[in-house]
């Protein structure tokens, strides 16, 4: 197991590459989901205010 993570002495380079790639992709997914929810909430509030004022 530790031999696998050592990657023949190149473990650092490999895991920094794969780790940062995974981190970026996961962060992007979370950011996009959150961004859409924020917009939905804001626009829903707007729709509510408009329908009340009618």
């Amino acid at each position: 197991m530790s031999e696998f993570f050592a990657m023949g002495g190149h473990g650092f380079y490999i895991w920094v590459s794969y780790g940062v790639t995974a981190l970026f992709m996961i962060t992007e997914v979370i950011a996009v989901i959150r961004g859409k929810r924020t917009v939905e909430k804001r626009l829903a509030r707007l729709a509510r205010t408009l329908s009340r004022s009618e």
Binding site: Y13, I14, S17, Y18, F24, K36, L43
Partner: protein
């Protein structure tokens, strides 16, 4: 047939109709992404043998090459949407271009990042100013320029026009990146895979790389469809269909049906 196709094309070019279609497509692309990533990573780490020259560090190419390909492919698609948006005033095309840019920038950065961490054990340096690396860095600046230009201009139509022009002019950089290893004497090696030559790598390595590429591709489609749905809502917020869509959700929340 041709007429029917063109009607479908016009139908889904309307943000109102594209929004629910994108929503239906997203889970499928996520499913494909996960399956392909699992298979690709398994092949990359457990099936592909150690490279006789580079040792284990070559395994970085299983994400480096796909990320670099995606960085160029996304730019090409983005510029195509920019042309469609400029020439035919298709609003959805402008929205797609905006939705593609952040993911394109991310893959460009990752191509540079993984390249640096492959270069260190292989070349002995994280970075050199050779033509391939420099032109890829320029690609990152083009994406960043596109994104900042859009956020700097308030009027969405003018923002789309300015950023589309930048995207189209920037296309000139793509052949420079692609052919840089042939045109100049670069430290970066020549193409490992090219349409005209037999691949210089083992079949299993090539298979793993191609599966990872398709996985990144599916990821891009899924995330871009999600992002374009947000952009559609924002830019169409004054339309009745968005008001009704979100108004309904508000009613649902009140009734506790959510």
């Amino acid at each position: 047939m041709a007429l029917k196709d063109s009607i479908a094309w016009y139908h889904f070019a309307a943000p109102k109709n594209f929004y629910p279609l994108a929503g239906k497509m997203i889970p499928w692309f996520w499913g494909l992404t996960i399956v392909l990533l699992l298979v690709g990573l398994y092949l990359s780490f457990f099936v592909a043998p150690t490279d006789y020259k580079q040792g284990e560090s070559y395994r970085i190419i299983f994400i480096h090459v796909p990320a670099a390909w995606m960085s160029m492919l996304i730019y090409l698609v983005m510029a195509t949407y920019a042309i469609i948006g400029l020439a035919w005033k298709v609003r959805l095309a402008d929205m797609m271009a905006s939705a593609l840019a952040p993911t394109g920038a991310m893959f460009t950065f990752l191509a540079l990042w993984t390249g640096a961490f492959w270069g260190k054990p292989t070349w002995g340096t994280y970075w050199v100013w050779d033509a391939r690396l420099t032109s890829e860095l320029i690609l990152l600046f083009l994406y960043i320029g596109f994104i900042s230009l859009q956020s700097a201009i308030d009027d969405p139509r003018r923002a789309a026009k300015a950023s589309s022009l930048l995207a189209i002019v920037g296309v000139i950089n793509l052949p420079i990146i692609y052919f840089s290893v042939q045109w100049w004497n670069t430290l970066h090696q020549g193409a490992s895979v090219s349409p005209t030559m037999a691949p210089k790598m083992a079949t299993i390595m090539l298979t793993a790389m191609l599966i990872m590429t398709v996985a990144f591709w599916m990821y891009t489609i899924a995330i871009v469809l999600m992002r374009v749905r947000r952009i559609i809502l924002e830019r169409e917020r004054q339309t009745t269909w968005v008001m009704e869509l979100l108004g309904d959700e508000t009613v649902g929340e009140k009734d506790g049906r959510k």
